[in-house]
Symmetry: C2
Subunit: 344 residues, 2 copies
Amino acid sequence: MSDITRVALDAMGGDNAPAEIVKGAVRAVQQRKDIQILLTGQESVLEKELAQYSYPGEQIRIVNATEVIETAEPPVKAIRVKKDSSIVVAMKMVRNGDADAFVSAGSTGAVLVGGQVLVGRIKGVERPPLAPLLPTLKGVSLLIDCGANVDARPSHLVQFARMGSIYMESIVGKKNPTVGIVNIGAEEEKGNALVKETFPLLKECSDINFVGSVEAREIPYGDVDVIVCEAFVGNVILKLYEGVGGALMKKVKQGMMSSLRSKIGALLVKPALKATLKDFDASEYGGAPLLGLKGLVVKTHGSSTSTEVCNSIIQCVTFKEQKINEKIKDAILKTQETEKNENG
Amino acid sequence: MSDITRVALDAMGGDNAPAEIVKGAVRAVQQRKDIQILLTGQESVLEKELAQYSYPGEQIRIVNATEVIETAEPPVKAIRVKKDSSIVVAMKMVRNGDADAFVSAGSTGAVLVGGQVLVGRIKGVERPPLAPLLPTLKGVSLLIDCGANVDARPSHLVQFARMGSIYMESIVGKKNPTVGIVNIGAEEEKGNALVKETFPLLKECSDINFVGSVEAREIPYGDVDVIVCEAFVGNVILKLYEGVGGALMKKVKQGMMSSLRSKIGALLVKPALKATLKDFDASEYGGAPLLGLKGLVVKTHGSSTSTEVCNSIIQCVTFKEQKINEKIKDAILKTQETEKNENG
């Protein structure tokens, strides 16, 4: 295997495309020699953007794609119809082995649909979950699933728990990570129908370190490593994390500007505060992988700037080195064999 | 009708019972002459607690109840078996008209079950929602439902929207309040099965000001007044609000203590910051009412101190004055008549 990680990058997706995406690509290759970027999008536009920077030219190649999938487009149709879009062209490169990974700040729906339809699921994986890292007081936890797999079934959540554990151990380096299911109380009999059905299944899994229910209040304190939930709840958690954090910081700044005394104080606390709060900013942790696919697919935030794009690209090297998808493949295969043996 | 609001107060429920509950009752009657408190719980214990304070004696009366329902107890059984518990005794007073309202910091499950079984639903109300106020950058929004009604149906959510609108208009004083449904995207076709089914029903309601989907990220900014969701999601929102807020403030404090410079700054910003953050503390807004019942039932946070207990008691006066449950009764009745006429 080559030591170069080839990343197909959707240059046209996201609120700040193509400027920040291209800038992120340039920053990544300026930092790392072991990355090659295949920038998909409208050639003339991308050439103009790239012309602003000096960087090792052989590490970025433009792959022309004339169409753009917008965030509001129905994803299934968009993937089928816009065959020459930056997302479809890039994903096909992953499928054909011309790229090791795909990174996009574009339409989440299109990335999820494309991941399943174009890249394809690992055999035995029922639904590929989108799994971002959440900052906590103790470091990071993995939130799985935040994708479009709403109305999931208990068997899906059990697979999420397995895939999430592999991710936390391989990528984040957490040995024997704890797994919790998002619930509205600590007791096993609490919850909605999905949680009540899933709980005993997770308890039975010998290959994960299941610790029971986790209430939303506890998540930011970081006592549980893998936070399992269905996508609707996961999306609410991810977005509210961002919303409460942002609103509270706005409030803190307003409070600091309310008197002369506090304004002087604000000048003195600012540098320390900025450094501390950086740890609590989800965008510092790169993109969220769509796990359980036959290739690496990473979704970064729609509002990503060059920093997040660069981090997401560099993250792909670790994903490739750690063979995350092969580990998932092995784990799913092993579970299926065990189940087959148990059923006779 | 008497000008006195009679509040049956569960003196034995909550993490800080009975000390903080009794103290909250004393604070309430010290502030208001128009409240009478019926303190339910173990007589000897409550007498000892009350003996510490001086207050207008005629405004607090102990009603002996020998049993206590613990938070971890299965609520349906607890309500049935523990007939002499502080919750059951107090709720029966509301049912019999001996009290205007019930306030408890105890088991949420027992309060919800007791509300339905002992106090009873208003005719036509399918499920009574628990509706706390959330602090936002613009004031407060109502989150409805945060109760035990998980796996709700679309018709329940439509009633929540109606009851929430009445609450925001009558109690908070917001004219023609906006209503949004919690969703994972702005578009109508996004969401899980429940949201997709509920969305068109809400659009059809002529008696509410429905503005469409609200993403969790937007909630803290306060652009939508009534946030409709089923109880599992509502509970996650409420608890995460608290969790992210608490964790972030811990982080801010750590950051401020990290250098001598920032420590000096912290001293200067502290008073201003404290005042601002008080606005963003959910406990300042009293308890959450269980709407749609034949009496007033208010649940305060399990960790309530005397401040929250006192606020929740005083809130009952407004609930009574505004005849919140009668307005809900009228609205539900009107809807049923309209539906009857439409169906021929």
